[in-house]
């Protein structure tokens, strides 16, 4: 089951995704995560506890990053601590080229 945890300091938020990022996450992502993160200036998405993804999940992630970046205050989004197996999937899809290389950081 997917859950998330938010740790904030000043205007910066780190959101820890826990569990599989898949089609089941659609509602949580759209109804909770996006509204929650909209008001920070910097957001880091920590993926250290995401072990599996599906294509809808990757789509949600892309949508999340794009939505946050396109808000009025232009949030700076990073993704960190990606598991190697998940990174493999991202590489095939060329997620780096889709989101931009600066989004991916090793860890926070």
């Amino acid at each position: 089951m997917f859950s998330y945890e938010l740790i904030e300091s000043n205007e910066r938020a780190v959101v820890y995704f826990k569990g599989d990022l898949d089609i089941e996450v659609t509602e949580i992502m759209e109804e909770q995560v996006i509204p929650l993160l909209k008001n920070y200036k910097k957001v880091d998405i920590n993926m250290s506890e995401v072990l599996f993804v599906d294509s809808t999940g990757i789509g949600l992630l892309i949508n999340l990053v794009d939505t946050l970046r396109n808000t009025e205050n232009g949030i700076k989004v990073t993704i960190s601590d990606i598991q190697p197996q998940v990174q493999e999937v991202f590489d095939i899809i060329q997620l780096k080229e889709i989101l931009g290389e600066e989004v991916f950081v090793l860890s926070t």
Binding site: D54, I58, I62, I93
Partner: protein, 683 residues
């Protein structure tokens, strides 16, 4: 005087010993004269050997008979008149000097005569073994009278080799024979000389010991029973050099004949060219040589296949002839079978059309529409599933489309002519588009796009498989959305070009709607459903994706089979026109101005090419190209083709393959092609 020698040694004592050895004498039989005492140097520097001269003391009783013996031997070899004692005497005197220090061979024996200052030498050569005092000699040795020599000749025997081979089809048994031989050497007499090389003379005796019975046994062992040629075997028993004989042969099968269709009317496209008048112009009214058949006329006979006769191998097996196939006739409009499908008759009047592809023949009668006046707004456009002959002109923005040939006896003005087969225009094409052949400009462009799509789709499928195989990838959303979310991800960035190519293809299908076969458009629809749809559908599966790829491949293969022998465009003059033909394009009259021409075959212009772009896939032959005014004229052919121009003006551009050349001055009688280094060569 006895013989004497000079001998060297480390000490006087050594030198004497060496000398005695050479002379074969004892110390008592020689006089010794010391020529040089040895000098001992330090570490051999400055040392000198001892030198002595030994002279054999004459002992008449013993030495003289020796010499006489020798001389008698010489007489045998050199002089047959041995009975003449006077001569013998005379000879003795001469021989003595003559033979001094020489060695010779006579009757297989070695003789020599040493001199005090010279010892003859002998080299053992090929074919013999030389023993000196019972020791085998290698190379060159010194000969003295006291040595005993023995010569043994060598002998080499090669066995007869033979074998029987059966060829691939088992139609022939071949006996290869290489007769054996015995190689012997004899010793020839050698005249006296200070040095002789002893070689045996080679004698080769061929021994063919092939046995008739042996051959028969081997044939039996190989199960060869059919068509044995005993004469050839007997001949083989007597050959003296390596040879081969066919000693048994089977019977080749006689191949049958596939079914075929015999045409009873002349349809050769070469004969349906319009008449050319003596002044070089063309009379398109003389198109009567286009064959026409009437209702009920027999147009072809269908011949059934003829079975072949089986053959037989040398091992008595049956060789079946190739299976023969009947021809398969597909009848189109206006043609029917009679007499159990052995004859084809026309049920309509028109032009017979045959198309053969392997054993499949399509036969139909192409109906003909004759339009007696001009085609204009009052007559309307013409679309006809057959040939169209227009006795007048085709006027402003009118369309003529035909599945067969189109002939327009006058002009085509600002109009479009599309024929699946040939187009003849009796006069001029002005501001018009003329297309001939199935493979029109849209098809070749669509095929080009499809090829790119095919390549990218292969990679696309590969990527999907890769993602699916990744350990962290879940397929939780497949039952709801299929592969659509994954497609979207991949098309978002990695395969963005695939998306644009597919869009271009679909656009191309729309534009070429009525010129493209429905298959192309159908494929476009499927591509749209698969890649451009935003809602999940049945196309979003690997299976369907592979199927789509297969469809693309099939269509491309179909497209690549040329079937263009009936396509050509012929006209007198073109101005501001687009001419696209998958076969030859011929312009008989003044030429073409500012026109774009694409010829899938050979392009011939009997007049002037002024401005425009011309492409000829199988080469271009042009009388005059370029303009003094400088309107750009470009003529291109593929890399393996030639461009021939009788008169080319400054500024004309030719392109062969990817190599371009612009003429800087007027030239005549050029023929341009590419050499192996991709340079344009003129001749």
């Amino acid at each position: 005087m006895g013989q004497s020698i000079i001998a060297k040694g480390r000490t006087i004592h050594d030198a004497i010993h060496i000398g005695l050895d050479i002379l074969g004498a004892t110390r008592e039989q020689v006089e010794i004269e010391i020529i040089q005492q040895e000098t001992k140097g330090i570490l051999r520097i400055g040392s000198k050997p001892a030198i002595v001269k030994l002279t054999k003391i004459e002992q008449a009783e013993k030495t003289v008979p020796d010499i006489e013996d020798m001389i008698q031997s010489i007489d045998i070899s050199e002089d047959s008149k041995t009975n003449n004692p006077a001569k013998e005497e005379h000879k003795e005197v001469i021989s003595d000097d003559h033979l001094e220090g020489k060695v010779w061979v006579h009757n297989g024996k070695i003789f020599c005569k040493t001199s005090p200052l010279y010892y003859p030498t002998i080299t053992a050569g090929r074919g013999i073994k030389l023993y000196k005092n019972n020791e085998l000699v290698n190379g060159t040795i010194v000969v003295t009278e006291n040595d005993t020599f023995e010569i043994k000749t060598e002998e080499e025997v090669v066995e007869t080799k033979w074998k029987i081979m059966i060829d691939e089809n088992k139609l022939n048994a071949i006996l290869y024979i290489e007769p054996g031989m015995r190689k012997t050497y004899t010793i020839q007499d050698i005249d006296p000389s200070p040095h002789i090389e002893l070689n045996g003379e080679e004698h080769i005796e061929v021994i063919n010991d092939l046995d008739y019975e042996q051959v028969l046994q081997e044939l039996q062992r190989l199960d060869i029973v059919h068509g044995i040629n005993h004469e050839a075997i007997l001949e083989a028993l007597n050959v003296t050099k390596a040879e081969k004989f066919v000693i048994a042969s089977g019977i080749s099968p006689i191949q049958g004949k596939d079914g075929y269709i015999e045409l009873l009317i002349e349809i050769d496209s070469e004969n349906k060219k319009p008449m050319i008048r003596t002044d070089g112009t063309v009379d398109f009214r003389e198109l009567n040589n286009i064959p026409t058949v009437n209702k009920g006329q027999v147009i072809a006979v269908v011949h059934p296949p003829v079975q072949g006769t089986p053959g037989i191998t040398v091992t008595n097996e049956t060789i079946l002839p190739k299976q023969t196939q009947p021809i398969f006739v597909q009848l189109g409009q206006g043609a029917a079978f009679v007499e159990n499908g052995t004859k084809i008759v026309a049920t309509e009047t028109g032009r017979p059309y045959f198309e053969q592809n392997g054993l499949l023949v399509k036969v139909s009668i192409v109906p003909k529409l004759i339009h007696s006046g001009d085609v204009n707004i009052t007559t309307g456009n013409i679309r006809f599933k057959g040939d169209v002959e227009i006795l007048g002109s085709v006027e402003d923005s009118m369309n003529v489309q035909a599945d067969g040939n189109v002939s327009v006896l006058k002009n085509v003005n600002k109009a479009n002519i599309t024929a699946k087969q040939s187009v003849y225009i009796g006069q001029n094409a002005i501001g018009s588009t003329i297309i001939s052949g199935n493979h029109n400009i849209f098809v070749s462009e669509a095929a080009h796009l499809l090829m790119q799509i095919q390549m990218q789709m292969e990679k696309f499928i590969l990527s999907i498989k890769q993602v699916m195989n990744a350990s962290a990838f879940k397929v939780t959303d497949f039952h709801k959305k299929g592969l659509l979310p994954l497609f979207k991800l991949l098309l978002d960035h990695k395969f963005r070009t695939l998306l644009t190519t597919i869009k271009q293809y679909i656009e191309m299908c729309k534009r070429g709607n009525n010129l493209l076969d429905a298959k192309w458009a159908k494929l476009g629809e499927n591509l749209h459903s698969c890649f451009l749809s935003s809602v999940p559908n049945e196309w979003h599966s690997l299976e369907r994706l592979n199927q789509l790829l297969n469809d693309i491949k099939e269509l491309l293969v179909e497209h690549s089979i040329p079937n263009e022998k009936y396509c050509s465009i012929e006209l007198m003059y073109a101005l501001n026109s687009v001419i696209y033909c998958s076969g030859d394009v011929t312009i008989y009259g003044k030429g073409c101005h500012h026109s774009k021409i694409h010829a899938g075959g050979v392009l011939k212009v009997n007049g002037i090419v002024r401005g425009g772009e011309l492409y000829a896939r199988l080469g271009a032959i042009i009388k005059e190209a370029g303009s003094e005014g400088g309107a750009p004229t470009r003529i291109s052919v593929p890399a393996d083709q030639k461009i021939r121009i009788d008169l080319v003006r400054e500024g004309t551009i030719i392109q062969i393959g990817k190599i371009r050349y612009t003429f800087q001055k007027e030239e005549r009688w050029i023929e341009a092609f590419l050499d192996e280094q991709d340079r344009i060569i003129f001749r």
